[in-house]
Assembly symmetry: C2
Homo-oligomer: 498 residues x 2
């Protein structure tokens, strides 16, 4: 190691001492990929120590998206977090947000870096970044996620690098780093195909800002991958049939890229697309690249995948290490403001496939709040993609908790995507294509095609009641009854009447 870098080497515990009460940490990490794993537990330990002495210690944490237990878990349990931006999925942190212990700003992921640069959000004081290499000139090569890391590195006064040997230097070349200029002198973002490279393979920082380098060797703490459940495969089957039908009708040109949300259903959709011999090759302009990318590669169906995070199981991470050179010809990681950028999503004609927490008969979608109140994970990139997609699709099993919860409700308890922006809904029951329909027709379609049989009569009764008693027959919502499914669930533990 170059002496100018070697002199910055320290232990994770020493690096944690650089963090002080009130710091705003801008960290790498996106859906549990590429997040720093070594220093955060020692920041948590420091917080515990100071709190035990009656001294204050809390920090704000900005990331790409969710991180693992070493960061979101440890810092939460140590009461070290005051404010968290813009997405999370850790059970302890989720709980702290919902008890009011941590303030959480749930932002569109494409907005975060711009808001930081423009001063709309407090400036990060420290950047804490998982990297595969760093040079004496200050070139930092990121690991398995892009996130908003380049902007945090640019804005922070102090940089702590976790130099992670797990992927190692061989990973150099996966990233394309591009930060748009501020308006009004902003130029186009010259991506016209999913594999276009427009920036640098590293983030360049003034080397004197690098305050610490901590050597680590750890894979991403992603959750183990489950085999797709029958219900996921059924949803995927409806969706792939629909895509083929739209192609046959000439309404979905070949070559449009797909965005696929996070989770089991999304993984099953890409797996089904890989295995369907009558569906051609696909390209992805997406946010998170999951293990299903291997299905696409193995069936020789992947043209190219652009994303901001490579969120793979441990066997998936091992495979990337083994097949690094092949993988680099097929996959590219961008900063999240580019992977999720409205300009590119709209230009490329992206087909957006995201999971809904619940949707209502008129087509409004809830992605974030259980019972209108309890935060799940955050909106993530779902609106970045939905709002600018060529064709936006929402998917969900029709019921949850063994049938006690219907995903199709009279009125969503929180609306993250309005009915103006939604077009296609899929559950294991079927697919509703509501393009061009007025609200009442949308409702009839969504009930018929997507609702679970146990809930269909209730939803139909609500719609017919509204057509008689609502203030208007355009969107016949009856506010007095709109949340009766949710209230019944709160009272009895089931949305179904006894």
């Amino acid at each position: 190691m170059h002496p100018r870098l070697a002199e910055k080497l320290m232990t994770a515990e020493e690096a944690a001492e650089l963090i002080v009460d009130g710091d705003v940490i801008g960290a790498s990490g996106f859906t549990l990929s590429g997040y720093p794993k070594a220093v955060a537990p020692f920041i948590a330990a420091k917080a515990r120590r100071l709190h035990a002495n009656g001294e204050p210690f809390s920090i704000a944490l900005y990331t790409g998206a969710s991180t693992g237990d070493e960061m979101d878990g440890e810092l939460t349990r140590a009461n070290a977090l005051s404010h968290r931006i813009p997405y999370q999925s850790h059970p302890d942190l989720r709980n702290a947000i919902n008890t009011g212990a941590v303030e959480f700003s749930d932002l569109h992921l494409s907005h975060v870096a711009q808001y930081v640069r423009s001063g709309f959000l407090k400036k990060p004081t420290v950047a804490l970044v998982d990297a595969v290499d760093v040079t004496p000139e200050g070139h930092i090569y990121l690991s398995t996620s892009g996130g908003s890391t380049a902007t945090y590195l640019m804005m922070a006064d102090k940089i702590i690098i976790e130099l992670n040997a797990y992927m190692g230097e061989g990973f150099k070349g996966f990233h394309d780093i591009f930060i748009p200029k501020p308006p009004p002198m902003r130029e186009r973002i010259p991506i016209y195909k999913v594999d276009d490279r427009i920036g640098m393979p590293y983030v360049a920082v003034p080397p004197e800002k690098i305050a610490a380098i901590v050597q680590t060797n750890a894979p991403d703490g992603t959750r183990p991958l489950k085999d797709p459940a029958d219900i996921d495969l059924t949803i995927a089957g409806h969706l792939v049939e629909f895509i083929k039908h739209e192609r046959a009708q000439g309404r979905l040109p070949e070559g449009l890229p797909f965005q696929s949300g996070v989770g089991n259903v999304a993984n099953a959709v890409l797996g089904t697309m890989a295995k369907d011999p009558t569906l051609g090759s696909v390209c992805l302009y997406t946010e998170v690249i999951q293990d299903s990318v291997f299905d696409l590669i193995d069936y020789d169906k992947l043209i190219f995948a652009s994303g901001t995070a490579l969120t793979l199981s441990i066997p998936g991470q091992e495979r990337v290490k083994r097949e690094m050179d092949m993988f680099k010809t097929k996959v590219l990681l961008r900063q999240q403001e580019i992977s999720n950028h409205p300009e590119i999503i709209r230009r490329l004609g992206t087909v957006a496939m995201n999971t809904a927490l619940e949707f209502d008969i008129f087509g409004n979608v809830n992605s974030t709040h259980v019972l209108g109140s309890h935060m799940m994970n955050g909106i993530g990139g779902s609106a970045d993609f939905t709002r600018n997609a060529y064709l936006p699709i929402f998917m969900s099993p029709s019921v949850a908790k063994g049938g006690a919860i219907s995903s199709v409700v009279p009125m969503v308890s929180h609306a993250d995507h309005s009915e103006h922006s939604t077009k296609i809904f899929v559950t294991e029951q079927g697919l509703a294509d509501v393009r061009g329909m007025a609200p009442v027709n949308r409702a009839r379609h969504i009930i018929d095609r997507c609702a679970h049989p146990d809930y269909k009569p209730l939803l139909k009764e609500y719609l017919e009641y509204g057509l008689k008693h609502a203030p208007s027959k355009h969107t016949p919502q009856v506010l007095r009854r709109a949340f009766e499914f949710h209230l019944r669930y709160e009272q009895t533990g089931s949305m179904l009447p006894k």
Copy 2:
């Protein structure tokens, strides 16, 4: 007139005979500007005649946005409309939508043309277009609005032109007509400054598609302009102070264009900006250009205004006729998919200022549905701009109907803009800047700064109740009580308790 055109001349009554039951008319017109005024009343007469004979006659009508009484009013009263897309503001049509007589698809205005071209919406069979000139080669020069007219002209089999002498041929040159290619081969939209021209001044159609030319001479039937009320000027004052404060803080670079919604508040904001000697010149990248553009010109504060509609009072229209050449150096009209395009709005760093019907303490905005059910006008371009703006702002008087309705409510009865997308709220009471805040802080701020004093205690009590009893302290909504303001209004005619 060239003989190839002269042979297509006919009366409005004759042209109306070309429309048959089941036609889908794609018409010009946007917020009562540039809509066809002569033929529609005869289509309505034909519908009445056929209905009297027991024969069916109904059509679908796609436009840019709202049209005047000659079109939306006449066709509605004759029961001639089956389906209306994408926006309206006529009292008779609004009533027909809310009684269920007309199906209304309320779409983001930037989406309409693409949906028509991609086959997501039924193909227009007839284009009916107000124009200032047409050539034998099929070059059609549009009048006072762009709308989605170029796409309707391209897609329809049959074209009816209302050749309107009111603005006349002198109006040629105001339009910049550009239709993006379909994806995946789509290129950038090369607008980098509000006055960049990227297309043609006319729409080119195969001349054989022109089925009729009807000569007319009529101004746009816009509503008379009111002097701004004190409350509008107070809102405008808060907003302009905020803009100056943000400039001073370095958070709002000089030169960012403004988008200003439709109506009196928006008009007052631009008027106030014009008259404030300490605020520099402004440029507009907007949808509708209203009479306030004259204030900006008269105070020498207008750099340039790009929009899709020139919605002026009759005196305003007369002034444009008198000062056509000056006006052409200051104003440009685009197709609405370009004026409202996410790529351009985001690139330019547009500051979006729109009016809310109501907003809730957590920052969700209702732009469309009264009591969650009754359609007002439609979402228009408000989400096109809000979602992609550098800084999105919503404005509203804090109360309506003499205080019986609070614009600030516990939960919006319909959410068109989610709290993820909103940042700044302004009423005559004050301005709430909720950037970076978690929901509870947002609520405290919005109540303190924006709510009317009569409603503040009620809103505070709701928030504190939620912090005790809601499922979560993150967004402490209590579904059982969330619509109590609206339900009280339905029952008693006021959101205030007796």
